[in-house]
């Protein structure tokens, strides 16, 4: 049995015979032509035929997959009409007296090289577009028929050096159970389409074409990025089991997409998602998110050379609020400083950036910048269910100052005649131990808490989470952390407020039962964890877990907690 490994590009297990999609070598020879006008005609004809072909593929993709996927062929069509590509080719034929194949090859290679040299994954992928288009025209010029995946009518796994976008959309999931390519990454067109089509895929396997023969039995493990050739009976049985487990899990999760999150004993909790940009909304909705528990606004400020304007921020916040259609949306105000820097904001170097001027501390230090964000948020508030959250609050005074600025901006906007929602909840992140300890006092003034576990753990354990030599101290299940979490939740409930959690811990399999028992109201995690968490919560009883809480909080170490929960 042989084994290859590559990049897991699309989930699932496929088991089938290999089908090699050969890439015909389209060799280009330089020839001199005398009738250049006829040669240009021949070139134009090949372009015309390619355009007709692409129109068909585009239409078919729009019908069978989506308009979004079809857009790539719109881009290909534009390439074939690009004056900067077509112009130089016809000029070259005319002035150099060379054949169309050579002129095309030379010109497109220049663009391919240029895109590949760019320091940007996305732009590198554009080189694939140019190659795909060039190959199509070249095949027409040479009269070569390119192998066409839509002709496959057996259940197979496709093995290829690379799949062009036009190959990939012709993969019919009825016959094509998965594919393996030697090159490509998770953001290649082929990888993205595989996820859309929901067929398992491994890309970047490097030696698939050189080791796999037609007809070989192949297992693709798209979860791990493994490829197994000629598996023995035991391996085959193992993967068949893994395959059916994946299928039933997927079916179960899919059923939960539009369901509320309800425990076995009928208690509802809220599952939200953490997002960084409005573009992440798609993932939230596709995974059945009931809320956004954390919108990290710092991404708006990053990767640019000046502060985002009030209007730019307003557009982003409104897009998220509108997209959530009235579902709760917790927006965290700017959390910059520490390890997160902005190129256009020079801050003094600090010895301990995590303990320094960051997040709310910086915002209170730079009130104009902060006010701009608050105004944008307030203006956007009429478009949905906005909740505003301040990060890194250590003292009640900081919260009062931040809230006062918010109220001032609200009053100003109202005086300007601009609509602002009257039901915006204002809460804080609990990530500093002082705040967790004083939660009862805070609870009288804030509308909600959201526990940021990554920082809370780092500050409670005094362990830099970037420092590997102390990574053993990153202990989410340490009873010290759990007791703080309990203190925060209890304090909020006593005042009729709610507590959420937006750190990694909220989506953790071991932590979820404990947090449920502690009474956490909202769990916010990466969108891809939501359905799994919903499924886990539906099997847990809150009353049962409440019964275990005292025992768990009385345990001595993180390991003891982990063992106890695993054996429940």
């Amino acid at each position: 049995m042989n084994r290859l490994s590559g990049i897991a590009a699309s989930n699932g297990i496929a088991i089938a015979k290999a089908f090699r999609l050969e890439n015909p070598e389209l060799t280009v020879d330089k020839k001199n032509v005398t009738d250049t006008q006829a040669e240009i005609e021949r070139f134009n004809q090949a372009v015309k035929e390619s355009i007709a072909e692409l129109e068909v593929i585009k239409k078919r993709t729009a019908e069978e997959i989506s308009d979004k996927e079809a857009a790539i062929f719109g881009a290909h069509l534009l390439v074939l009409e690009d004056p900067e590509l077509i112009g130089p080719i016809t000029d070259k034929i005319k002035t150099d007296g060379v054949n169309a194949e050579f002129a095309l090859h030379e010109t497109s290679t220049m663009f391919v090289d240029m895109f590949e040299a760019m320091d940007n994954e996305y732009m590198k992928e554009r080189a694939a577009d140019v190659r795909d288009v060039t190959k199509r025209v070249l095949a027409h010029l040479l009269g070569v028929k390119i192998q066409n995946p839509s002709m496959i009518t057996d259940e197979v796994v496709v093995i290829a050096e690379d799949l062009t976008p036009s190959d990939t959309v012709q993969l019919n999931p009825k016959f094509i159970k998965g594919f393996i390519t030697d090159i490509g990454g998770r953001t290649s067109h082929s990888a993205i389409l595989a996820r859309t089509l929901e067929i398992p895929a491994v890309v970047g396997a490097k030696s698939a074409m050189s080791t796999i023969d037609n007809g070989t039995i192949v297992i693709i493990d798209g979860l791990e990025g493994d490829v197994l050739l000629n598996p023995d009976e035991a391996t085959l049985a193992e993967y068949k089991e893994k395959q059916s487990a994946f299928a039933s899990q997927k079916a179960e999760w899919a059923k939960l997409k539009n369901e509320a999150t309800v425990t076995k004993d009928g208690v509802e909790v809220e599952l939200g998602a953490n997002i960084g940009t409005p573009k992440d909304l798609t993932g939230v909705l596709e995974n059945g998110g009931e809320a956004i528990g954390l919108y990290r606004t710092e991404f708006l400020y990053m990767g640019r050379d000046n502060f985002p304007t009030e209007d730019e921020q307003f557009d982003a916040y409104s897009a998220v609020l509108k997209g959530m259609e009235g579902k709760p949306t917790v927006v965290r105000t700017l959390d910059i400083g520490g390890d997160k820097e902005l190129s256009y904001l020079t801050l003094p170097k600090e010895l301990n950036p995590f303990l320094g001027l960051r997040a709310i501390r910086l915002c209170l230090e730079m009130p104009d910048m902060f006010r701009t964000q608050l105004r944008a948020l307030l203006r956007a508030s009429v478009h949905g269910n906005l909740k505003i959250m301040f990060p890194m609050i250590a003292t009640l005074d900081e919260f009062r100052q931040a809230k006062a600025l918010l109220m001032e901006e609200k009053a100003k906007l109202e005086a300007e005649g601009i609509d602002v929602s009257d039901s915006i909840e204002v809460g804080i992140m609990v990530e500093i131990p002082s705040t967790a300890v004083m939660a009862d006092t805070f609870a009288k003034e804030v509308d909600f808490f959201s526990i940021g576990t990554n920082d809370l753990i780092q500050y409670t354990m005094a362990a830099d989470r970037m420092n590997e030599s102390v990574s053993y101290l990153y202990q989410p299940y340490n009873p010290a952390i759990l007791r703080l979490v309990k203190n925060v939740i209890d304090a909020s409930h006593k005042e009729g407020k709610w507590t959420g959690m937006c750190g990694e811990m909220a989506g953790d399999e071991i932590a979820i039962p404990i947090l449920l028992g502690l009474g956490l109201d909202e769990f916010s995690m990466s969108a891809s964890s939501i359905l799994k968490a919903r499924s886990q919560l539906s099997r847990l009883s809150k009353a049962d877990m409440e019964g275990h809480v005292d025992h768990i909080l009385g345990l001595a170490t993180s390991e003891e907690v982990e063992d106890y929960v695993k054996n429940l």
């Binding site: 857009a71 881009a75 534009l78 390439v79 690009d82 004056p83 590509l85 573009k279």
Partner: protein
């Protein structure tokens, strides 16, 4: 000649979809249309030219149209950038 400066606000910068929409809307114009970013000027009717600039989010670009239908071309550019939601002036 008409000239205008735009700020690209889409978090992904000038990516394939809006670039395609923009380029695709301009082939019908007679005017020469260019886009300049960081001292590099390209033909805005060329998708490869536009993509080769690799315009990131938050940057400003200068767009110029020169010819008989320049005003109409600039209106189209503003409308498309706006529809695609990737820019404000």
């Amino acid at each position: 000649m008409v000239e205008k400066t735009f700020t690209i606000t889409d978090p992904a910068g000038m990516h394939a979809r809006p670039a395609s929409a923009l380029v695709g809307s301009l082939s019908k114009f007679q005017s020469d249309i260019t886009m300049e970013f960081k001292d590099k000027k390209v033909n805005l009717k060329s998708i490869l030219g536009v993509m080769s600039l690799g315009v990131p989010s938050g940057s400003t670009v200068q767009i110029a149209a020169d010819g008989a239908d320049e005003a109409e071309a600039m209106e189209t550019i503003e409308r498309v950038l706006n529809e695609q939601g990737i820019s404000n002036e």
